[in-house]
């Protein structure tokens, strides 16, 4: 039904349109460019059979903190394309890449306290836990849950959900030795870059 693949530069305009159509937190094109030109491995799209982008995940690495970790900037799936497990598939793809390419220890995200649907997805399906509450995180004054999921100690496997979740254990065994590099050095950021808020 829907193809899950890495995003290319040509997908960015459609990703922005998808974001504007269904989420209240929006970003200018430059912020999408910043993501794909920094961590091209961490952007995934869901493309339907007509070639339309119906969902995406936009993620990044936090490079300024001590612990190398990933962060989900934005995740969206069009309302018309629910019940296909797209959000789960997109999240798994981005999380795998964070761990495999950048050696991320954990991945974080923010979610509105009132957004039960998303909260359930993160806790029940994807294994996130509440790490903290950020008061008045959103522009309209709502609080956010700061949620985290540990990536490196993967004792808990989620076999029942998606078998391809375990792509990392296939073929090449030494992925844990890789990465890390991109987190240890602080690179100059694009000037004028404002950290926009995540979903």
């Amino acid at each position: 039904m829907v193809c899950i693949r890495k995003a290319t530069i040509d997908d960015l305009l459609a990703m922005q349109t998808c974001n504007l159509f269904c989420l209240p937190e929006n970003y200018q094109m430059k912020y999408y460019l910043y993501h794909i030109l920094s961590w091209p491995q961490l952007l995934y799209v869901a493309e339907d059979y007509n070639g339309r982008i119906v969902g995406y995940v936009l993620a990044k690495m936090e490079e300024e903190s001590n612990e190398c970790h990933g962060h989900i900037t934005s995740l969206a799936v069009l309302r018309t394309h629910r019940k296909l497990g797209l959000a789960t598939k997109l999240m798994n793809a981005a999380q795998n890449a964070m761990e495999q390419v950048f050696g991320a220890e954990y991945v974080s995200l923010h979610v509105r306290k009132s957004n039960r649907a998303a909260f359930n997805l993160y806790t029940e399906t994807l294994g996130y836990k509440i790490h903290d509450v950020e008061a008045k995180y959103y522009a309209d004054g709502e609080d956010a849950y700061d949620m985290r999921k540990q990536l490196k100690e993967k004792q808990v496997h989620h076999h029942h959900h998606h078998h391809h979740d375990h792509g990392h254990s296939h073929g090449h065994a030494h992925h844990h030795e890789h990465g890390g590099g991109c987190c240890s050095s602080v690179d100059a950021k694009v000037s004028g870059k404002k950290e926009a808020k995540a979903t």
Partner: protein, 903 residues
């Protein structure tokens, strides 16, 4: 820098530069002024003061000072550099490059200036210049990684990928064996993948593959490494290895269609247009059956076979595919199947299949041949599917009855209302579609998707004010009332621009279209910061792709629509310019003195009110801006919110030409581009350019009614021109004389004959007949009645079809509206236009345009009856709704309780 100054002032000068870099502009300004007190003519100080003022929004002073400084010290590279920076800040890149070049003439090895120059060259795609500058930087600082990479990328961009490879290998030669250190593994891996992709681009496939194998352990991005390897193996024809690797990739992500496509290529079962022999279909079927067992969770393995299977096997596969998805209630099922509607045989099978399932569920609550009972929702979802099927087929009556039944079955499912809204839109009742979408919206106020869907429908129904009020419910960003524009919400701006255009409000329409154009200019500008960023970050493949994306940015559909919309506005503005003040005075003079006085008072009051509102808004935003963070840039109030100034331009055709050029460059294969070019150039009397447009139209689609119109109109106009007098006119004539025989539609025929032949070829098509009729009237105005008859004698033929639910009419609503407008305007016959309307109201009973009997335009229509009854019950909807699965919902329900604008 700051040479020729005594030590104290030289230190102050350094302070100015430092303050500029750290954005402490006031401090810098003070230092500059104290130098200037002693040395009022010091060029570099004047220039730096100007640059500082530029950052404090004092632009004109800035330019004056920088120019003055330069004049006083033409030999200073600092002055030239500053002048360049000033231009750069205003995006005047060509001028900036000139300044940097002058600076470098004085100080050729200045690394800072060279680096700044290289960024501008990349931005402006001055690729030879870029290569030169990067070479210079490398020879000045060969121990910097960035300089090697920059030089290689420059050659790559300048179409010399093999040179780029050489440079990267030379760079690798400078590295120690144990490179990279742990903190550079990612960057180094990216560089290696970039090099391999360059080798692939050069066609050195074996070398690329060997390099990939050799460096595999140093490539961090394993997924990309594998994808790159597959691409190389396929190109090398090493299909068995490719297959093995693709199966490994599928294991990691069985939802990536590209892997399936690659796998088909490897096993020799790939075809561009999906045409396969029976034997190939057998083998494909077997392949996907085995993949399906491996990847039970993948929906791709189940969906792809529907593309190649035929007949009974298609039916079986489709049934197996559809059943569980209907049971589950997957809302996107129909859109997923819709590509199959290009194949008439499959449509018939699908229709019968859907009817069979519906019937079986309705009568037995089971799928045929199944023992288990289906849940009640299965009937609702199968009605939902059928409604969309009939909508697609143009059977709006049946579609509406199915969707109504579904809504009756379960009134809380929002998707049903959205689907009904879409059906009504297709059927031609835009107002009802908007109302339905609003009903859906009110069922879950926290879901922006249904809000956007509703806004879209409102705009289609030309309810712009209501649409904006609705959209804004989701776009409040703190103190900002409406950040749709800041967030580059282009679909919205385009849709409202189009609505304003339909309503004849050219100012507001232009405002919206130009806003979209501005977003594209901003995106082009966005790349600037990344020229240096990506070289540091080593995301080179993404960087080069980004540059190529930028090069074709303006061919994107939204830009095309915006530019075409703007051109149309300018053409309309030219054809009927707004009244000048003199003319308005003239109108006024017809009034009695007392009326005049009243009118003037009214105008003055309105102006004062508008002014006050604007000021209040300004105060509001600046106050809020200051409170939040002292530095926050306050957005200036838009001095022309309704685009009135846009209407007052001198030469609308000149403005239109600007956008036409962009379309010609970026959308040369779009019919619309050349139609607009034709219209514009005919008005500008640019005969040869108009002729070019005609030729392009014939190249793209000689059978299109509009191509025919332009061809006939063009030669008709050429014929009516005066005998050529000037040399230019004579030249134009001789070109046309020489060209006309090469046009196969005309040859030696007269225009009337050409028109008749066109009719003969396409006499069954409504739009072609209309074009012929229009041209007949243009060529011979006294044959107007004949032209009208030609249109009225068109018949709405049935398109033959053997399906279960009867034939489909051939006419499209959109086309009929176009014909109606033609009858009313060009042919200017009220009676004929009325007759047409009555006839179309019968064909399209839901059309508000034709005031069809079922449309909301008619007070007692079925629709309006339903509306009345549903309004009473609408409060119930707020309770239910399937919000649990919606990721888009963001729990804003609380916040919006007071803001509902439900009917």
């Amino acid at each position: 820098m700051g040479a020729s100054l005594p030590p104290k002032e030289a230190n102050l000068f350094k302070l100015i530069v430092k303050s500029y870099e750290t954005k402490q502009y006031k401090k810098g300004l003070k230092a500059a002024d104290s130098i200037l007190k002693k040395f009022p003519d010091h060029g570099e100080t004047l220039a730096m003061k100007g640059l500082t003022l530029n950052c404090m929004d004092r632009k004109s002073e800035a330019y004056e000072l920088v120019r003055q400084g330069l004049k006083n010290d033409l030999k200073s590279h600092v002055c030239w550099h500053v002048y360049g920076l000033l231009y750069r800040s205003d995006r005047e890149y060509r001028e900036a490059i000139k300044c940097y070049r002058n600076a470098l003439r004085i100080d050729p090895d200045n690394i800072e200036i060279l680096r700044d120059l290289s960024l501008l060259q990349a931005q402006m795609r001055d690729l030879t210049g870029f290569v030169e500058t990067r070479q210079q930087l490398l020879s000045l600082k060969p121990n910097h990684r960035m300089n090697w990479i920059g030089f290689a990328v420059a050659h790559h961009l300048n179409s010399n990928a093999s040179k780029a490879v050489e440079i990267l290998e030379a760079y690798e030669g400078t590295l120690e064996d144990d490179h990279p250190p742990d903190n550079e593994r990612c960057e180094h891996g990216e560089m290696l993948l970039y090099k391999i992709s360059l080798l692939e681009e050069c066609g050195f496939l074996e070398r690329a593959l060997a390099e990939l194998h050799k460096k595999e352990s140093k490539i961090v991005d394993k997924l990309d490494c594998k994808e790159q390897e597959v691409s190389l193996l396929l190109k090398l024809g090493r299909l068995e290895e490719g297959e093995k690797l693709l199966r490994a990739l599928l294991f990691m992500n069985p939802d990536n269609y590209r892997y399936y496509e690659g796998l088909q290529k490897c096993v020799g079962l790939y075809s561009e247009n999906s045409h396969f022999s029976p034997d190939e279909i057998d083998r494909l079927d077997a392949l996907y059956k085995s993949l399906g067992q491996q990847y039970q969770w993948s929906s791709a393995v189940k969906r792809i076979p529907l593309d190649f299977l035929q007949g009974d096997r298609f039916q079986e596969a489709a049934e197996n595919y559809i059943r569980p998805l209907v049971t589950k209630g997957v809302p996107s099922l129909f859109s997923d199947l819709s590509p199959l509607y290009d194949h008439p045989c499959k449509v018939d099978i699908l229709e019968q299949l859907m009817l069979k399932l519906e019937h079986s569920i309705r009568t037995t609550s089971q799928y045929p041949g199944r023992a288990e009972k289906e849940p009640p929702s299965t009937l609702m979802w199968s009605l939902f599917l059928l409604a969309q099927h009939h909508d697609r087929r143009g059977h709006y009556d049946i579609a509406l009855s199915k969707i109504n039944e579904a809504i009756e079955h379960t009134p809380t499912v929002i998707d049903l209302y959205s689907a009904k809204s879409r059906i009504l839109k297709h059927a031609g009742d835009l107002a009802a579609a908007a109302a339905l979408a609003d009903e859906a919206r009110c069922m879950d106020l926290a879901d922006r998707y249904i809000n956007s869907d509703c806004v879209k429908r409102m705009l289609q129904a030309d309810q712009v004010a209501l649409a904006e009020k609705t959209a804004v419910l989701f776009t409040k960003d703190g103190d900002q009332h409406n950040n749709l524009h800041d967030m580059q919400c282009m679909w919205y701006e385009l849709a409202s621009g189009e609505s304003y255009f339909r309503q004849g409000d050219l100012g507001r329409a232009l405002k919206k279209f130009l806003a979209v154009e501005k977003h594209y200019a901003d995106i082009t500008e966005d790349q600037f910061d990344f020229h240096s960023y990506c070289l540091r970050k080593m995301t080179l493949r993404a960087y080069v792709e980004m540059l190529r994306f930028q090069d074709r940015l303006h061919s994107h559909a939204y830009f095309h629509k915006a530019a075409a919309g703007a051109i149309r506005c300018y053409l309309k503005l030219y054809d009927s310019p707004p009244k000048s003040t003199a003319e308005e005075d003239d109108d006024m003079s017809k009034l009695l003195p007392s009326q005049k006085k009243k009118m003037r008072q009214k105008q003055r009051k309105a102006e004062a009110r508008a002014k006050k509102e604007a000021e209040e808004k300004h105060e509001e935003s600046s106050a809020a801006g200051a409170s939040k963070s002292g530095k926050r840039h306050v957005k200036p109030v838009d001095p022309d919110p309704h685009g009135e100034k846009l209407l007052k331009i001198e030469d609308p055709l000149l403005e239109a030409t600007k956008y036409l050029k962009l379309l010609q460059k970026n959308s040369p294969d779009s019919l619309e581009t050349h139609l607009l070019s034709f219209e514009l150039n005919m008005r500008k009397q640019k005969i040869l350019l108009a002729f070019q447009a005609v030729k392009q139209l014939l190249r793209l689609d000689a059978e299109h009614p509009d191509s025919h119109r332009c061809l006939i109109k063009f030669f008709h106009k050429a014929r009516s021109m005066a005998t050529p007098m000037t040399d230019t006119e004579k030249l134009v004539w001789s070109v046309l004389e020489a060209e006309r025989p090469t046009i196969s539609q005309l040859h030696e025929k007269s225009l009337t004959e050409g028109n008749e032949i066109f009719l003969e070829r396409f006499k069954d098509s409504l739009l072609h007949r209309a074009a012929v009729a229009e041209m007949l009237y243009v060529l011979e105005p006294d044959r107007k009645l004949e032209a009208i008859r030609l249109i009225e004698e068109s018949t709405n033929n049935m398109v033959p079809k053997k399906g279960a639910l009867g034939p489909v009419r051939g006419w499209k609503l959109k086309d009929c509206i176009e014909v109606h407008k033609l009858l009313g305007t060009v042919l200017d016959d009220n009676e004929a236009s009325l007759r047409w309307k009555v006839r179309c109201a019968e064909c399209f009973p839901y059309s508000t345009y034709f005031e069809g009997s079922c449309s909301s335009a008619v007070p007692n229509s079925a629709y309006n009856q339903i509306r009345k009854s549903s309004e009473n019950g609408s409060a119930d909807h707020l309770e239910g709704g399937e919000t649990a699965d919606s990721l888009a919902s963001n729990g804003r329900l609380e916040a919006f309780k007071d803001l509902t604008i439900c009917p």
